[in-house]
Symmetry: D2
Subunit: 368 residues, 4 copies
């Protein structure tokens, strides 16, 4: 089956040109499984997700589809086309500095009040009504009488697409990173279903990112219902997949990541074909134990710790070279942590200010 292709306007440039998203949709003749929404490249330099979507579409064309799959590559045209020297300055809005992945709408729902008006609905109707409310809330936001920012318009437009699905995957990468998964704590079983070795278990809260914007309103609803003695399985799953390093396209590796996603979709009944996740040791930690290490000094950096591999307490993470201090100070300074960790990503540049975020490391790591 071939996908249909459409476009969606998400903004306008200063020249008047529209900013548009390409949207690909696979729709089964009969819907027997959950619907899926997958986007990539919300951060402009994190391009590998586009290659994964390419590989996914090739596989989806050749499988038995039970649910629908909507794919949005190149989801941030302004960020993707924003060059600064030889790199893509696509992490934040160039005017405001706001991270493109912190612009999603916090619905601020008064769940108790909403439920008072919908308590009589059965589960299916309740879910449908809640979803409609979320979609309507996004659309009203976009009509705000004082306007909305460029980044908020883009984010809420994407979120409006995401709210229509049961499964939402947001494809990112780190700067220089090994693959890792952001998984909400309530859905921790899912961490075994992807083909990604390292997982961060994040609180069931809203912090501004796409995945949280999707699952958090449903988490609130289910929590409230549980307190009222009504059980509702959380009907939505949302994850952020970090697929290695930015500014890098690798079609063969993208095929592996597509396989991993297909395994999850198979488990969830989106495709009928039985596909198993890769066998691998899997590790995780809680987000509160995912630590940012900031450079204690300015200088040139040799990154020595291997990403994705355990590092003993006291072993060097990196070495700072301060050649200006040669003969009169510390020319080489090894940087060590006092506790064991697994380095997951490091800064993209080899020169840093004092305070630059050098590494992000998992601590208190456990095997899944």
């Amino acid at each position: 089956m071939k996908p249909t292709r459409s476009t969606l306007k998400i903004g306008e440039l200063a020249t008047g040109q529209d900013l548009e998203l390409p949207i690909f949709q696979f729709t089964p003749a009969v819907m027997r499984g959950p619907s899926v929404y997958i986007q990539a490249n919300v951060h402009g330099a994190e391009v590998q997700g586009n290659a994964v979507i390419y590989q996914l579409m090739q596989q989806l064309e050749n499988c038995e589809l039970l649910g629908s799959v909507t794919l949005v590559p190149l989801a941030n045209p302004l960020g993707i086309n924003q060059k600064s020297g030889e790199f893509t300055l696509g992490r934040f809005d160039p005017i405001t500095g706001v991270n493109w992945n912190r612009e999603y709408l916090n619905h601020h729902i008064d769940v108790a009040a909403w439920y008072r008006q919908h308590a009589e609905l059965d589960d299916n109707a309740l879910v449908a009504a809640y979803r409609a409310m979320l979609l309507d809330s996004c659309q009203q936001r976009l009509q705000h009488e004082w306007g909305v920012t460029t980044g908020h318009r883009q984010a809420v437009t994407l979120q409006h697409l995401g709210h229509q699905a049961d499964i939402v995957l947001d494809l990112h990468t780190g700067p220089k990173a090994c693959k890792h998964l952001y998984c909400p704590e309530y859905d921790s079983e899912a961490a075994r279903l992807f083909s990604i070795a390292h997982t961060l278990f994040m609180p069931n809260e809203f912090g501004g990112a796409m995945d949280e914007s999707i699952f958090y309103p449903w988490w609130q609803l289910c929590q409230y219902l549980a307190a009222q003695g009504r059980e509702l399985a959380l009907p939505v799953s949302a994850f952020t997949l970090e697929l290695g390093s930015q500014e890098h396209i690798d079609l063969a590796d993208a095929r592996l990541d597509a396989d991993g996603i297909m395994a999850y979709l198979s488990h969830r009944g989106v495709v009928a074909d039985p596909i198993l996740p890769a066998k691998m040791a899997r590790y995780g930690c809680y987000l509160r134990d995912y630590k940012k290490y900031h450079s204690p000094m300015g200088g040139m950096v040799e990154y020595t710790a291997k990403l994705g591999e355990p590092l003993a307490a006291g072993s060097p993470l990196a070495t700072i070279l301060r050649v200006d201090q040669y003969g009169c100070g510390s020319t080489l300074t090894p940087l060590c942590l006092s506790q064991a960790c697994v380095p997951i990503l490091h800064f993209a540049s080899a020169s840093v200010y004092q305070g630059t975020e050098l590494y992000k490391v998992m601590t208190h790591v456990f095997e899944l």
Copy 2:
């Protein structure tokens, strides 16, 4: 009296060079009045505060000083020296995008717990102990075992200077703006004491900016004490002064702003010389009524509304030119609001994306 000059390290560049602040201090032989801290140019393009500090120092040299005055111009050397084309890209950290004026420390004080341990102190001792706790909290923050970001180091170092004073003034400018004052609601009387026509009354809360980081812990303390039946006058004042437009130095206008600040310092007993604020009509609104208007479309902008002057509902704020639409669409689009306002500032560039923050306007304006 001449000021003493010292420097303070606030960071290190990639080349190893120190980032340093110049600090000027006027100290009376006998302290009989409050201590003052004034900083300027935390946003790199907002340079006029340096000229105001220059004019202030000239006046302080020739007056009878009762309290001490500490002045830190050029407070953000990294931001000030960050050029991008012909402009100063100094509003946010070039690596992270974080606004340099949202990096201050939220102390997250458990006031009840703290007070239980200090309830027996008299007012003076209580204030001294609380201040010591704030200073210590800043210093501990700077020693954090995982390091702190470049911007947080700079901000908390400035905050540590600010916590030592009774009066804190943070000198900023808008992009293209008329002069205006940020004044906390609890201190609203102060709005008449400066020589600034427009005032925004902000909630007594912490939002990340310097002024809030200074007054909010004291507001918390005084509120708690009041609830316990103990009256303590809030011993600290903090304001942000927006002194016109960025990328502009005007020494004569800086003299007027210095006069206005001297009037406030005179009223507060920092200088013995009686200096009155300029006579002018003064207007204000609450921060919740200070609205950001985002461009509903991309295009070229003619800014027509005069800053600082009332604009009737339905009158044009600006006109969008879309010459690409000539003959086939709306070439000129006037932008109007449905309510009366006073435009305070507008965007610095004459071309905008859809969603660019075009104007900030006061609504529900009242005379002071």
Copy 3:
């Protein structure tokens, strides 16, 4: 008469989106006058030319047209949409740093060899053949087997449009500037025909800019023919108009500039309506006497010299504020020149490095 509107692709973004130019064309039923090409906004922040094209189109609709007029506003979509903070980083390619207005093709014509093959043609046929050769040369350049740079593709595409016309106007602005005209020396009479008070007479050479790329091949041809004893009036005119300051749209002022251009077009017989240039004193200097003054020191700048007005030798151009030197060095440094000049433009930012180009001034100014 209404213009026709078309678009022309000049590049592709990383997202795959086309970069396109809007093209407006006024074509008389019978061509009785010269053809005109006018472009604007090749530097991204220099937006006022778009407003001038808007006003021109309104006037062209209501006049008797003898020649054709082609107008390309928004001629550099990549540069116009390139924001960096609150300003448009549109002066150079963000990847390479190359000035968008130095990317035009130098034809490097061997005029002698070309003429040997075309000497038998009469003047009209000679001009047509030479023009065809220039157009073909541009098109071949765009087909280069190793590809061409983004900026060169854009520039040569514009140049290909320009070579088709008899009169080419490139609408720019300075950073902060008074209006001025770049006029080739051979065409110096034209400086009286626009409504612009200051003119720079540039050598009849190729330096990389649009105007030079248009007139220089013809200057070469006519020079060569003259050396062979054949007189040919130079059949092409090309000018750069600097219409004030960047990042500024003023529709009323654009009307004045459109009037000035209409006066030139009237004089040249493009429109039948008699329109006279504004009466004004006009001044000029040779490009070799147009001097760049670089800041002798770093610091904050108060720009004091008025643009477009004579400044006596020794009078201050600007003042550098170095508040960090207060009490221990030169806090205020006036910057003066040892010769009389007319300041034409100054840097856009109020803070500079040592060596920043602070002012461009005319020296050895003469009245036209």
Copy 4:
């Protein structure tokens, strides 16, 4: 022997802070060999040269020195500290866009006139007088009455250091690159003396870069003398070493590069210790055969050709992914050249505009 350390001011920032270079000097008790000048990191992101200077200094401390060696790491403090997102925007002046390595002084010497006044000197005195003239010319340039640009001041200050030496090495890197050497044609034998496999033989001309600014005046002199029948061996050598990729510090690899440089210095008699260059196959081409390949389209890029390895005509250099074209166009486009080449470097980002310089490749490669 330990080096002495000094600093040299090359500019001033907007905050007033000096821009300074660290200078390390090894000076033998008796000068019996040539003097050497080595600089690194003139492009801000090309940091590896600093590590090479570190390794060189360690070796120089432990060898028998016959000539002097001056080392300037971190030679462009403004560029090195210029971050834009997670990368160093250090290739060009952020204000003007001018490449930091194209700012050196072209002396424009009238050699005939100069020689008429110095013809009576013997070779040693002639060389000394010519060198003195070059040094004086740099210093006069820095005193220019209209000032000089920020980049020109830095470059000419470095050039003034370079002119004092007999051997000048400028340490750079490519974006993503294999190691290669820029060697002037007159000095082609030197290409065997370094430990670098690929060499570009450049014309004996001035193109704006450091190496050319050093050797070209001497090439002019020697050519002129030869035409007068006087033989003078060119007394100066200058090379640019491209040490791999930017934004990368590798201390072990830097040791290899330091070894290679020591081999050259040994051959030239700067150090008494006999050190041989690494044995390796060496290849070269002329600069006119070093081709830039520009992307024929916008899109995402998978770089597939291995750097430093021969690529047959018609083999794919890279693949462009255009996922937006999935199902409706060419999703994958292999990019091939019609001739054999050795790819030397490619663009740093994985997404490109049409026209982005994708690869630089050697053609017509020969073995040395």
